[in-house]
Structures are given as C-alpha cells and as structure tokens.
C-alpha cells in the first residue's frame, strides 16, 4: 500500500480562553489515502471543523496545536513555518469554507477573484489565467461567460461551485471542504456531490469532507472518520461503517437518521443527553454518559483508538462485543426514552 497523502497522528488543538483551556481536538489520528474522499462526521462542537481548518492552519489566534503531527507528503503541517504553509495553501491544499458567500468578495467580479489566485498565487500570465478560469468553470459546470458576474448574481449552489472551482485553481492534491452542501437543497446538493466525485476521479485528488450528515458521507465518501467530543471514535471504510459499526455512538447515529429507502418509517431513536463540556471533559470514555452499553470501566478509563479487524479503528472498550451490541442497538428500547 502506498503512503497516505495526509497522516494525522495524536493531534490536539486547544482553544485558550481566559482561565480556561478548551480541548477542541484531542489526540486525533487518521489517514487520508491518495485519491480518496474521506468524510469527517460528527455533531456541532465535536472538533471536526477546527481540525479541518488546522490542515491549512487557518485556525483562530487563540487556538494552539499542542501536540501531534500532520504529515502531508513528507512535511509536518504542524511544524512547518508560516512561509512554507503559505506556499502549500491553494497549491497543494485548498480549503472550501462552509459559506461560499462569505469567501467571495461581493464588490469584485468572480473573474477578478479567480485571477487573483491564478496570477497572484499561481504566477500565471493574464491570458493563461483567463484560459484557466474558463476551464475551471467548465469543470464545475458553469458557463464561462458567467465569470464576468458578481457573486450576488449566483444562486447558493452556483456560489458553492465557484468556491470549488477556486479551490481547484492550482491543481491541489488535497481539498478540505467544510460542510460544502449543508446549506443547499437536496437537488443542488446531489448535483454538487456528483460533481465533486467526478472531479476527484478525473483529477486523482483527495478530498476531506467535513459534514454532520451521514447520508452525505454514505453517498460520496470512501472512508469515514467519526468524531465525538473532540476525539476520533471510529475510522473505517464507509460501507463497513454503515453495515458493521463498532462504536455505540455510530450505531446510535444511524438509528437517529431517517432513511427514505427503508420499507416503513419505523421509529427514530435519539441518543439521550448532550455531549460533554470540552472545558471539563469527563474521566473515561466521553460518550459513556450517553452510551447504553457503558460499564463502570468505561467511566473511569479512557479508551484509545485501536485497530480492530482489517483497516477499522475504534475507540471503545467493548468493541470485541460489537456484534452483540449492534443487535441490541437496533432496538429502540435499548436507548431508553425515545421522546
């Protein structure tokens, strides 16, 4: 097997708030294989966005990478100088922010903003930039004559396409997309996901897709990394994750999610309770308080992410019983009150 494109090891990111340290990401590890789409899923506040932003080091001033490494093609993104990082941005790693509206400056034509990247960062000549911009628009399915438009003249879905075109501008090896389709309607969402999949295949790039929506992951991601309360709790191929999850949180998420392909509507089962306060994380497993399978051991000893079967990592003390737990997890009564 070839080296992964990005290998995250024991990464911790801390927000320093006066008198308080909030560990947004704690000791996270996972790999992004070359030429794959990896989903980073979790609920709000689980640290997925913070981690994604750390890959291009665009985290806020009070956030610090306190330990761990992010090995990208032989360079440790956590250690390299700001100057080296700057060389990597756009050229090797591109970031697509959650709200494409905010990433485009409303007072400039889209063409100008494309040229800024192509000429400023890519060192292209005017005519090269012009040709490349048209090509990029073609790639994301927008007519090239719309380059002369201002951002407000695009619909939400179009703007997201423009943001993706911008990310592709300098042929990066990795695109990090933060909830790229969350604000979009299902039809547009599907069209954009199809586009991203096609681009990934044609260009052989890798994509990290940050999302809270497991159906998006199911649709497009080869691998999925599940995060909970700042920790990676499960990491495997998406098909495996959906059919044979090992972590109770993953099992619970699936139960809570409506599936239009299922025969009946069944009963959706919530996971009761709320994620812990990351300023004062509990001892032991962070999911224990909401987990129907938690033992005393789980509440005192924190499980580490361990390889379990081929290419499947999980952080759960009871992973070896997963088969039995899955059967129980499928029953709504396992999860207590469903209301």
């Amino acid at each position: 097997m070839s080296q992964p494109l990005l290998s995250v090891k024991n990464l911790s990111i801390v927000y320093e708030v006066p008198n308080l340290d909030v560990v947004a990401v704690s000791r996270a590890s996972f790999d992004v294989p070359r030429g794959s789409i990896v989903g980073l899923v979790g609920e709000s506040g689980c640290g997925k966005t913070t981690m994604a932003r750390a890959f291009t080091r665009i985290i806020s001033d009070n956030a610090k990478i306190t330990e761990g490494s992010m090995d990208f093609d032989g360079k440790d993104l956590a250690k390299i100088s700001e100057r080296e990082m700057n060389d990597l941005r756009w050229r090797d790693i591109a970031f697509v922010p959650q709200s494409a509206m905010n990433s485009l400056d409303p007072v400039y034509r889209v063409e100008y903003q494309m040229h800024e990247v192509l000429r400023g960062r890519g060192g292209m000549s005017r005519s090269q930039a012009k040709a490349r911009a048209a090509e990029l628009f073609e790639m994301v399915g927008i007519e090239a004559n719309r380059l002369r438009d201002f951002p407000h003249q695009f619909s939400g879905g179009m703007r997201q396409r423009v943001a993706i075109a911008l990310a592709l501008a300098l042929n990066p090896k990795l695109i990090v997309a933060d909830e790229p389709v969350t604000a979009l309607d299902v039809i547009v969402q599907r069209q954009i996901l199809d586009q991203m999949r096609a681009l990934q295949r044609d260009l052989g790039i890798s994509i990290i897709m940050v999302t809270h929506d497991i159906s998006v992951v199911a649709y497009i991601c080869d691998r999925t990394v599940v995060m909970y309360a700042g920790e990676v709790v499960e990491d495997c191929e998406t098909a495996t994750l959906l059919s044979k999850p090992l972590h109770p949180y993953t099992m619970g998420l699936k139960n809570a999610f409506p599936d239009i392909a299922s025969a009946g509507t069944g009963i959706l089962t919530p996971i009761s309770g709320a994620p812990p306060d990351l300023a004062r994380p509990p001892a032991g497993c962070r999911f224990a308080a909401r987990c129907p399978f938690a033992l005393d051991h789980c509440r005192s000893v924190s499980p580490t992410l361990m390889s379990f079967g081929d290419d499947h990592s999980v952080a759960c003390h009871r992973a070896h019983e997963a088969e039995a737990l899955r059967a129980q997890a499928a029953l709504p009564e396992t999860w207590g009150e469903i209301l």
């Binding site: 409506p258 599936d259 959706l268």
Partner: protein
C-alpha cells in the same frame, strides 16, 4: 364528511420588489412567493409542505398563522377568512393557531426567563395569573422535559438546542391550539437529538388531536411525521397526496427528481444522474406556463403555453400536462 379546518383557495402572496423605474424598464417587479395555491386540511390531519428554498412553503405557512396576509385568493380558518379577522375573533384565532419556529435560539427572547417566555401567550389569552405556573409546567411536561420546574428561571442560553426547541413547542401548545404550523423545527438541531423532538411532535399531535402543517425541505423527515405531502415549486403545488405513495412512485417530474435526490444512510444508493436540468428556480422570473418546464426533462409545447391545472390521479392531485386527458 368532516368540514375542513383550514381551506386555502387560489391563495396568492405577491411581494413588490424594486422601484417604479425598474418596473418601467421591464424588469421583474413582483415576486410571487405563493401563486394560486389551493388545498384543505381536515381536523386532525397533518400535511407536510415540501420544497426547495424559495418555493414558498414558509410563506404559505406564515399566511396560515397570519404573519402575512394573502394578496389574492383566500385562506380560511374554521370558515373565517384569516386576513379579515378582527378584535375578539382575532384573539380567539391567535389562541387556536400556533407556530413552531425553525431556529429555537432565535424564537425565544434571550433576555427572558423561560417562565416569562411561556407566560406571554397566557397573558394574551387572559388566563388568570394564578393558573400560569401550573399550565407552564403542564406544557413543559407535555413536551417531555424532565423535571420542568428547574427550567422556569433559566435563560435560553443555558439550554441545549434540543431542550430549547421543546420549550418553543411547549409555548406553542400551552393554549391547547387546534392548529400548528411547524417550520423546519429540527433543521437546526444535531442529528442525535432530532429524533427525540420529532417523536415528541408526533406524540403531542396525536394526544391533542392537532391539525398540523410540517414545513420541510427534507422528504425523509416529512415522511416520518405526515401521512400526506404537498410538493411545492416556485409558489405552486406540483403534487399533493399520501406521503408513502409519493415516496414510492412520484408522478410529477419534479417530485421524481426530488425523491431521487434524497440521500440515504446506505452505501448502496443510486448514483444515477438526476432527471432534472441544471440551474436554480428564479422566483423573480419564473417561466411561462408550467413553472418547472425549464428544468423538466419531459417538457413539451403545451408546457410553455398553458399553466397545468391540478388533476386527480388515483389518490393524488398532480399539476402536470403529462396527466392531461388524452385529446
């Protein structure tokens, strides 16, 4: 045959946009958020209003709780025209018809304790102060907030999204209304707590025999909550019928695309291209005839010329020329 509680007949909600000058220059000056919608709801029935952003589903819901007034056609509640209600009739309407809002953090005043928030409808309805506490607690119990007393003196920021949405629901239900419009009530919540709020919604609806409208862009959620679904596109109804039938066998070309686009949490879902053209609906400049024709893979001549009327097809109503009687 029961009499319908809500009757909407050719309802319109047109907004004027732009200036007189731009109108003279021939630029579109009217947005037709709701453009000729008709349906009725029997007592105890719940229906999902489904569509993409900008399709007018929220505007339609707002008409029914009188946050907007129709600019044409009619929308009646219990036989009375909602936009014409005045005085005592309006006050009664306000206690019988309620709304559950999309963003729980926005729907309650951040300066108010939850008791104060919950008391507002009681005060407006003239409920004696001595009964307030009991009724507030009863309403919070109804939405399954455990140990409701502890919430009374709390402020919104001290609650989680799921808890707060239950409070919003409790406020809507505290006067025991007959009719509730729920506007995407779980779209702001995390997946793991959504199910609980949806289950509570289903429970109280059945317990109180509510007539309900559930507005959403998510067919999977609508299917979980409503037996009947109305599919909207650019201010008009495309299809109206039993949810299960719409999910299994959508008739209107737009519904077909919409159903095909819904992602599922399964690895083996179809990656076929959607049966719909690129582009986005532009509410300022809808096409002539059928508003969906510019993206419809099955459009033909008549679609540009004539607005398709709603036709009964089995258990459903469909507004599409494909279902016109032959000849």
């Amino acid at each position: 045959m029961t009499t319908p509680l809500v009757e909407v007949e050719n309802a319109q909600l047109h907004y004027r946009v732009g200036s007189a000058v731009s109108a003279m220059m021939g630029l579109p000056s009217v947005v037709k958020a709701v453009d000729g919608i008709s349906f009725s709801l029997n007592k105890g029935e719940s229906v999902g209003l489904l569509g993409e952003s900008g399709c007018g589903k929220t505007s339609m819901g707002r008409l029914l709780v009188r946050l907007e007034n129709v600019t044409g056609g009619s929308a009646r509640f219990d036989g009375a025209e909602i936009s014409q209600l005045k005085g005592r009739a309006l006050r009664t309407f306000r206690s019988r018809s309620q709304m559950i809002f999309q963003n729980p953090f926005d729907a309650v005043n951040p300066r108010y304790t939850l008791a104060k928030t919950m008391a507002e409808p009681l005060a407006n309805a003239g409920i004696p102060k001595s009964e307030w506490r009991d009724r507030i607690i009863k309403a919070l119990e109804l939405v399954r907030l455990a140990d409701p007393e502890q919430y009374l003196d709390r402020f919104p920021h001290q609650l989680s999204g799921g808890q707060l949405q239950r409070v919003v629901m409790a406020r809507a239900l505290i006067l025991e209304p007959d009719f509730v419009v729920a506007d995407e009530p779980v779209s702001m919540l995390d997946v793991s707590v959504r199910a609980g709020v949806l289950n509570v919604f289903r429970e109280v609806r059945d317990k109180l025999g509510l007539t309900a409208i559930y507005i959403s862009h998510d067919l999977a959620l609508v299917r979980y909550v409503c037996e009947r679904t109305i599919v909207m596109y650019l201010g008009r109804i495309m299809e109206d019928g039993p949810t299960e039938a719409i999910v299994r066998e959508p008739l209107h070309p737009y519904t077909q695309a919409l159903v095909a686009a819904v992602p599922t949490p399964n690895a083996d879902q179809s990656h076929e291209p959607l049966p719909i053209g690129r582009g986005a609906p532009d509410p300022r400049n809808p096409p002539s005839g059928c508003v969906f024709r510019d993206r419809c893979p099955k459009a033909f001549d008549r679609c540009a010329a004539e607005v398709p009327a709603s036709k009964k097809v089995g258990t459903r109503h469909v507004a599409c020329h494909l279902f016109d009687e032959a000849g």
